[in-house]
């Protein structure tokens, strides 16, 4: 192990001199900084005529910088501290360090707390407005691309849409079926548990049927799809943005919206109603199974009650909502993807934002639809 750094005032020919020794290197930098700070604050040392570096055994940028710092702090007090005895091979390094850190670069000053809070709120509102504009913008360009597709059907990337349909619909079927099946079962179980207290067992079927077909089926599937496919859209588009692939498409005269985004959104708009249908059926199946095994209700009776309780309207209400929710998820996923900047951190940030915003929008849409259907009597 190399010897510790060392700096001390000594008397030499009646003058005070700073004598340095040891290794002035990175691994001793903390020690060295302490030694130098101690010397720097000392009044007796302030009169030192020179600093003698003859005893130095090793010297690197860290040592050089700390030496330079000591000299500058002397200079600031109007004193000059010449260096003597520094080995030839270290001169170049010291010379290099002489020029650095001349510009004042104080770390950012802390702003007032109130100002900081106001700034955060202001930026939040500004971002919200910008998000809204971006959402509408993205919706507009997707509609435009869709119109172009209708006018020139051959320009549509069918292969791409089918590929994405496979990913967001077909490959999602098992997990969607499983989750909705479980949720249907849980709702039925809870219904039996609580309704039994006042002998309303039969109404469990009404509750399960209406709740699932109108609300829960589509809502759960939409949330699952937002987490599963919306996030992957954002990540894909975001990483393409990072690697300048989207810029490359633009320069080739190709429209990223119609090539990358439209097929994805179309796939999502087709997939969500299909998945909602499958999910609702699985949930009803789960509900029926629990009714049979837990509630002691025969499957024939369950089906007969279900026929009485629900009508085609309930089924339609659920299914009509699905494509709109899919559109919201797709638009949010694409616009968040395009917001990704160069860093990997921003990719993660936008993917999170995409999922959070699309789930929020799905629920808001569901609320709006509830008002709408209530007022038209569906």
């Amino acid at each position: 192990m190399s010897p510790s750094p060392y700096l001390r005032a000594v008397d030499r020919d009646g003058k005070t001199e700073l004598a340095a020794a040891g290794s002035w290197t990175a691994s001793h930098a903390t020690e060295l900084e302490r030694v130098i700070d101690a010397v720097d604050g000392d009044a007796a040392v302030a009169k030192a005529a020179a600093i003698n570096m003859r005893g130095i055994e090793a010297f690197d940028t860290y040592g050089a910088w700390l030496l330079e710092r000591l000299i500058r702090s002397h200079e600031a007090r109007g004193q000059i501290l010449p260096i003597v005895g520094l080995a030839e091979r270290y001169q170049g390094l010291l010379e290099e360090v002489r020029h650095v850190n001349r510009e004042a670069t104080d770390a950012k000053a802390d702003a007032n707390f109130v100002v900081l809070t106001l700034e955060t709120v202001g930026r939040g509102v500004e971002n919200l407005g910008r998000d809204l504009v971006m959402f509408v913008n993205m919706l507009g360009s997707l509609c435009f691309a869709a119109m172009a597709m209708v006018l020139k059907p051959r320009s549509f990337r069918l292969m791409s849409a089918v590929h994405h349909l496979d990913r967001v619909a077909w490959q999602a079927v098992p997990i969607i079926l499983l989750i909705t099946f479980l949720i249907g079962g849980i709702i039925a179980q809870q219904g039996f548990f609580h309704f039994r207290k006042f002998g309303a067992d039969d109404y469990v079927v009404d509750m399960v049927g209406i709740l699932i077909l109108r609300e829960l089926g589509v809502l759960i599937v939409a949330i699952m799809v937002a987490g599963r496919s919306g996030s992957s859209y954002t990540a894909e588009i975001g990483s393409m943005k990072m690697r300048e692939e989207i810029d490359a498409l633009r320069t080739m005269g190709l429209d990223p919206v119609s090539i990358l985004l439209l097929p994805r959104v179309v796939a999502l708009v087709i997939a969500l109603p299909l998945l909602t249908f499958l999910g609702s059926m699985a949930a009803l199946y789960g509900g029926g199974l629990v009714a049979w095994l837990y509630g002691g209700m025969n499957p024939e009776i369950f089906i007969a009650r279900l026929k009485e309780a629900i009508s085609l309207t309930h089924f339609k209400v659920g299914l009509i909502k699905a494509p709109f929710m899919a559109l919201a998820i797709g638009v949010v996923a694409c616009s968040e993807g395009l917001k990704v900047r160069g860093s990997s951190e921003s990719l993660g940030l936008q993917t999170t934002a995409s999922v959070v915003k699309s789930i929020f929008l799905v629920i808001v849409l569901d609320g709006l639809f509830a008002i709408f259907f209530a007022s038209i009597g569906m």
Binding site: A26, A29, T30, E33, A58, T105, S343
Partner: protein, 263 residues
């Protein structure tokens, strides 16, 4: 910095590296002396980067010994590796800056990891490093996505030099830079090598930098080092690949006098 120590900076013996049934490095031997700048050339896909990555421990070797700064890497344990990693710096081909950190924070990463320093000293030394590679303090607050190609390489070099290493590995440091920037970068490497007493292992395709900064050049072909020596020795090599490389159109253009004299 014990430059007087005679053990070579890098000593590779009988190294075999391969992927699947493809052997990339075939019983390769190489010595890098302390304090020299060694330029390493070879055709695309000849295994230059594989050699570099094997030496720094990113790829496994099948056979052979590698000694870096007097430490045999084969039996070295984690602690020895950590100690060794402090003594070398690596500049990756595309910079490999951490994209979520600013340039200054990137330079501070190895300091935070390996040293115990006060925030003030860390900031000052990191700024000093950035200035030494020709950037200014304002660039320190930029994120990698806001830096140009040349600046990225400079920040990456500053990061490689953060701990005052004895040995730096440079993977194509001048690729993607314009000739002026590449020339500046060469000069920078030369200056830093002299002031800091570095040993430099540089994989490069840039004939200009081979000519101006490298003390010695090693050439890789068919999984072996086929020649090692100064640039004029390289030019005299009878190996067909070397002839094509150093006496091709671009090779000749650099120093017509030398080629004319030799032919």
């Amino acid at each position: 910095m014990n430059t007087l120590n005679e053990a070579p900076a890098i000593r590779v013996r009988d190294l075999v590296v391969g992927f699947g049934d493809r052997v990339v490095l075939d019983h390769l031997a190489l010595n890098v002396r302390r304090g020299e700048i060694l330029g390493f050339v070879g055709g695309s896909g000849s295994g230059k980067s594989v050699l570099l990555r094997t030496i720094i421990g990113l790829l496994p070797k099948r056979q052979g010994t590698i000694e870096v700064l007097g430490v045999d890497l084969g039996p070295a344990n984690d602690e020895a590796w950590r100690a060794l990693e402090r003594r070398w710096g690596v500049l990756f081909q595309h910079g490999a800056l951490f994209s979520s950190l600013t340039a200054l924070q990137n330079v501070q990463v190895p300091m935070r990891e390996h040293l115990v320093l006060s925030e003030r000293l860390m900031r000052e030394v990191a700024l000093a490093k950035l200035e030494m590679v020709g950037l200014n303090a304002r660039d320190g607050d930029k994120l990698p996505s806001e830096l140009s190609g040349g600046m990225t390489k400079r920040v990456a070099l500053a990061r490689a030099l953060a701990l005052d290493p004895e040995l730096v590995f440079l993977d194509e440091p001048t690729s993607g830079l314009d000739p002026i920037a590449a020339g500046d970068f060469d000069e920078l490497i030369r200056t830093l090598q002299q002031t800091l007493g570095l040993t430099v292992f540089m994989v490069t395709h840039d004939l200009e930098s081979l000519n101006t900064v490298c003390d010695r050049i090693a050439a890789l072909a068919d999984g072996k080092v086929i020649a090692i020596g100064s640039i004029s020795e390289m030019r005299r090599s009878p190996h067909p690949w070397m002839k094509a490389y150093f006496q091709g159109k671009r090779g000749r253009k650099l120093s017509p006098g030398l080629s004319a004299m030799e032919s």
